[in-house]
C-alpha cells in the first residue's frame, strides 16, 4: 500500500504539521467570521499583541516558559508510549513543594534556595506521578484514567492544605503567605537593568533560562543515554523491549517520574517567579495545553520550543485581542487550542495519504526526467 511508504523527514516533520496547523487556523478563521469580525484584523492584533512592543515580548516568553515545561513533560512520557494527562496535578503538587521550601527554609541564601526549590518541585511532581506510574507498570491500571483522577485528587488536596494549613491566620482568601523578597526568582528586566540594559518590565524571569536548559537536557536524555534508548524502545514496542532484556515497568516508572518533575518545574515560573505565593488553580490549564505543545512539536525539544512559542504568542496576543475587540473574548484562544490539538493530534493522519500520493507522483516524474 502507498500509505505505508516512509516519507522523507522534511515532509513528515515539516509539511504535514504545517498543513494540519493551517487547517486549524483556517477553521479558527471561519469561527471569527461567523462571529462577524474580520480574521485578518484578528491576526494583526494577535501578532502585534504578542511581539509588537517590549512588554508584550516579555509576556509572550513568560507564557512560553510554562508551555515548554508541560510540553516536555508530555513528550518524555509519550516517548515511553504513555499518555500523561496528569501534568496539571503534577504541576499543582510541584507548586506545593516550592512554597513549602520557600516558606519554611527561608533562612537559606538565594543560590542554595534555587537548588532546593528545583529539587523540591521535582520531588513533589515526581511523587504525584509515581502512583499512577506504579499502578500502570505493576498492576496494569490505565494511566490515562488514573492521571485524570489524580488531577482531581490533587486539586481537592491542595485546596484543603491551602485553606487549613498554609492560609495565614486571619486571612479569608485561600492562598499562602508571600515568599520573602530575596528568595524570588529575579525578573529578566531586573537582571538586564543590572547590566545597564533598559527593558520594559514583564513577568519574564530566570525560569525561562532554566526551561531552555531543560530542553537540552531532555534532548540529551532521550537520544543520548541508554535510559532514553530503553524508554524509546518500550514506547515503540513493549514486547520487543522485554525480549531485549528491558523491563518495561521500570522504564514506565522512570519516564513518568521525569515527566512529573518537568511538569512541576512550571511552578518555579508561576509560584517562585511571578505570583510569589501558592494560589488556587495556579496551573490554569497549562498542563492540558502541554499535550498540544508536545504533539505539535513532534515530541522533540526543538519542536516543543517552537510550539510553546506559538502558544505563548496566542495567550499574550489573545489577551490583547479581548481588549481590542469586545465581541471576541479570551476564549477564542481556547478554541484555537482545541482546534490545534484536534488537527495536529487526533487528525494528524488526515492529509498523509494525499500527501504521500502527491509525493510519489512528484518523485516518479523527477526520476523519469532524470532518466530522459
Amino acid at each position: 500500500m502507498t500509505t505505508s511508504l516512509q516519507l522523507p523527514r522534511w515532509i513528515d516533520a515539516g509539511v504535514l504539521p504545517i498543513l494540519n496547523l493551517a487547517m486549524a487556523f483556517l477553521i479558527s478563521g471561519l469561527v471569527v467570521l461567523a462571529i462577524g469580525e474580520s480574521p485578518l484584523e484578528v491576526v494583526e492584533i494577535l501578532i502585534y499583541g504578542a511581539f509588537g512592543y517590549d512588554e508584550a515580548i516579555g509576556y509572550t516568553l513568560y507564557y512560553t516558559t510554562n508551555f515548554i515545561f508541560t510540553g516536555l513533560a508530555f513528550a518524555v512520557a509519550f516517548h515511553c508510549g504513555l499518555f500523561n494527562i496528569g501534568a496539571e496535578g503534577q504541576a499543582y503538587f510541584g507548586g506545593l513543594g516550592v512554597i513549602l521550601a520557600a516558606l519554611y527554609l527561608d533562612f537559606l541564601p538565594f543560590p542554595i534556595m534555587l537548588i532546593v526549590a528545583i529539587m523540591a518541585s521535582a520531588a513533589f511532581g515526581a511523587a504525584w506521578a509515581y502512583i499512577p506510574a506504579y499502578l500502570q507498570a505493576r498492576r496494569g491500571s490505565h494511566i490515562v484514567i488514573t492521571t485524570i483522577m489524580f488531577n482531581f485528587i490533587a486539586s481537592s488536596l491542595i485546596v484543603y492544605v491551602l485553606v487549613n494549613i498554609l492560609r495565614p491566620t486571619g486571612s479569608m482568601t485561600p492562598e499562602s503567605e508571600t515568599i520573602a523578597e530575596h528568595l524570588r526568582l529575579p525578573f529578566i528586566h531586573d537582571i538586564a537593568a543590572s547590566f545597564g540594559i533598559d527593558m520594559a518590565s514583564s513577568p519574564l524571569n530566570l525560569s525561562f533560562v532554566y526551561a531552555i536548559i531543560c530542553c537540552v537536557l531532555v534532548w540529551l536524555f532521550i537520544w543520548h543515554t541508554r535510559w532514553g534508548y530503553a524508554i524509546r524502545t518500550v514506547g515503540a514496542n513493549a514486547h520487543a523491549a522485554t525480549y531485549a532484556g528491558i523491563d518495561p515497568g521500570r522504564y514506565v516508572i522512570m519516564a513518568m517520574l521525569i515527566s512529573g518533575a518537568l511538569a512541576a518545574f512550571m511552578a518555579l515560573n508561576e509560584v517562585m517567579g511571578v505570583q510569589h505565593r501558592l494560589l488556587i488553580d495556579f496551573t490554569a490549564g497549562y498542563g492540558f495545553v502541554g499535550i498540544a505543545v508536545g504533539l505539535m512539536g513532534r515530541n522533540h525539544p526543538v519542536g516543543i520550543f517552537l510550539a510553546a512559542l506559538l502558544f505563548g504568542m496566542l495567550y499574550q496576543g489573545g489577551a490583547e485581542l479581548s481588549f481590542e475587540i469586545p465581541t471576541i473574548s479570551n476564549d477564542m484562544v481556547v478554541v484555537i487550542q482545541g482546534l490545534v490539538i484536534l488537527f495536529t493530534g487526533a487528525m494528524e493522519h488526515m492529509f498523509r495519504p494525499r500527501v504521500t500520493q502527491i509525493y510519489i507522483a512528484w518523485r516518479s516524474r523527477k526520476m523519469a526526467q532524470e532518466a530522459a
Binding site: I145, Y160, M332
Partner: protein, 323 residues
C-alpha cells in the same frame, strides 16, 4: 422521624445529582464497549447544555432545547468518530481536543450571541422542564413512611430524571438482548471476528458513538434547562470525568454503572450537607475529602484492590483491515 426526613432529603438530592452522571456514564459505556475511548464526555455535555439553553430561550420550549442538545452532541460524536474511526487518530487526544474546544466555543458563542459574559439569558418556567407531580402525591404526603417516599423521593422530579433511570434497563436490554448490542460488544472485543462475519466495523463503531451522543446530549440538557435555568461557563465542572470514573467503577456495565453514579451522587449530596458538621467519633470531615472520594475509589478499583475492572479488549485500538 427527624432522621428519616433527613435521609429522604439526601436521597432526593442524590437522585438529582446523579441523573446527569447516569446519562453521561451510559453514553460513555456505549462508545467504549464498541472500542472507542470517550474522554470527550465533559466537552459534549457542555456543548449539549449550551445548545439546549440557547434553543430553549429562542423557541420557548424545552423539548426543542433537548432536541438541539442531542443534535449538537451527535455532531460532536461524529467529529470524534471521524477523527478516531475514519482517520484512526488517537482517541485520547481527540477527546481532550473536544473538551478544550467546547470549553472555549460555548463561552465564545455565548458572548457573541447574548453578551452576558458567557451566560445564556435566564429561562422562564415555560422554557424549562418542570417537576412532574405523581397522581395523589399531595394526598399521600401525610401518610407515615410511604408518604414521604412517594411524594418527596419518587414524585416531583422533571422528566429527564425518569428518562435517565429508564435508560438504564433499556441500555441493558439493547446491550445484552439485541443483535445490535451483541455486535456492538463484539466490535469492542474482537473486531476482526465481526469483520469476518461480514459486518462493517466502521459502521458499527459509528452507530455506537451516535448512541453515545444521544445520551450525553440529554445529560447536558438536564444541566441547563431542567436542573438549572441557564447555561453558565464551564457549568459541567468535571461531571463528564466523574461520569467516566463511574463507568469504569461500574466495569462498563449498565446496572453497576448506575449504582456507581448513585454512589458518587450521594457523596456529592452528603458533601454539601456535611460542611462544618461534627460527626460523633470522627470529628469534622473535610469537604475536600468527600469531593475527592469518587476519584480515589476509582483509582483503588483500577488498581485491582476491589474486584477487577476489565476494559473491552480492543478499547482504544483503531481497526485496521488486513489487505
Amino acid at each position: 422521624m427527624e432522621t428519616f426526613n433527613l435521609v429522604i432529603l439526601i436521597l432526593d438530592a442524590t437522585l438529582r445529582t446523579s441523573t446527569p452522571l447516569v446519562l453521561a456514564a451510559l453514553a460513555g459505556m456505549f462508545s467504549e464497549r464498541s472500542g472507542t475511548i470517550n474522554l470527550a464526555l465533559e466537552g459534549m455535555m457542555l456543548g449539549g447544555a449550551f445548545a439546549a439553553a440557547s434553543v430553549a430561550y429562542y423557541l420557548g420550549n424545552p423539548w426543542f432545547g433537548l432536541l438541539a442538545a442531542i443534535a449538537a452532541t451527535i455532531l460532536l460524536s461524529l467529529l470524534h468518530g471521524f477523527a478516531c474511526i475514519t482517520h484512526k487518530g488517537n482517541q485520547v487526544v481527540s477527546g481532550m481536543a473536544i473538551n478544550i474546544l467546547m470549553s472555549g466555543l460555548t463561552a465564545l458563542v455565548g458572548i457573541a450571541l447574548f453578551a452576558q459574559g458567557g451566560k445564556t439569558p435566564a429561562l422562564d418556567r415555560g422554557s424549562r422542564f418542570q417537576p412532574i407531580t405523581f397522581p395523589g402525591a399531595e394526598a399521600m404526603a401525610d401518610v407515615p413512611v410511604i408518604g414521604p417516599i412517594y411524594s418527596e423521593l419518587l414524585s416531583g422530579h422533571n422528566i429527564l430524571v425518569y428518562i435517565a433511570f429508564v435508560a438504564v434497563p433499556f441500555s441493558w436490554w439493547v446491550m445484552y438482548r439485541t443483535r445490535f448490542g451483541l455486535r456492538l460488544r463484539a466490535v469492542g472485543e474482537n473486531p476482526g471476528a465481526v469483520d469476518t462475519a461480514g459486518i462493517s466495523v466502521v459502521l458499527m463503531r459509528y452507530r455506537a458513538v451516535i448512541c453515545s451522543g444521544i445520551l450525553v446530549g440529554m445529560s447536558g440538557a438536564y444541566l441547563s434547562i431542567a436542573q438549572g435555568a441557564s447555561f453558565l461557563q464551564d457549568m459541567t465542572a468535571g461531571k463528564g470525568y466523574i461520569a467516566l470514573a463511574a463507568m469504569v467503577f461500574g466495569k462498563w456495565r449498565p446496572f453497576p454503572t448506575m449504582f456507581a453514579c448513585l454512589l458518587f451522587g450521594f457523596l456529592d449530596a452528603v458533601a454539601t450537607r456535611l460542611q462544618g458538621v461534627n460527626l460523633p467519633g470522627i470529628g469534622e470531615v473535610p469537604v475536600q475529602a468527600i469531593q475527592a472520594l469518587p476519584y480515589i475509589l476509582t483509582v483503588i478499583l483500577l488498581a485491582g484492590f476491589i474486584g477487577k475492572a476489565v476494559a473491552p479488549k480492543s478499547l482504544g485500538r483503531p481497526y485496521v483491515k488486513e489487505r
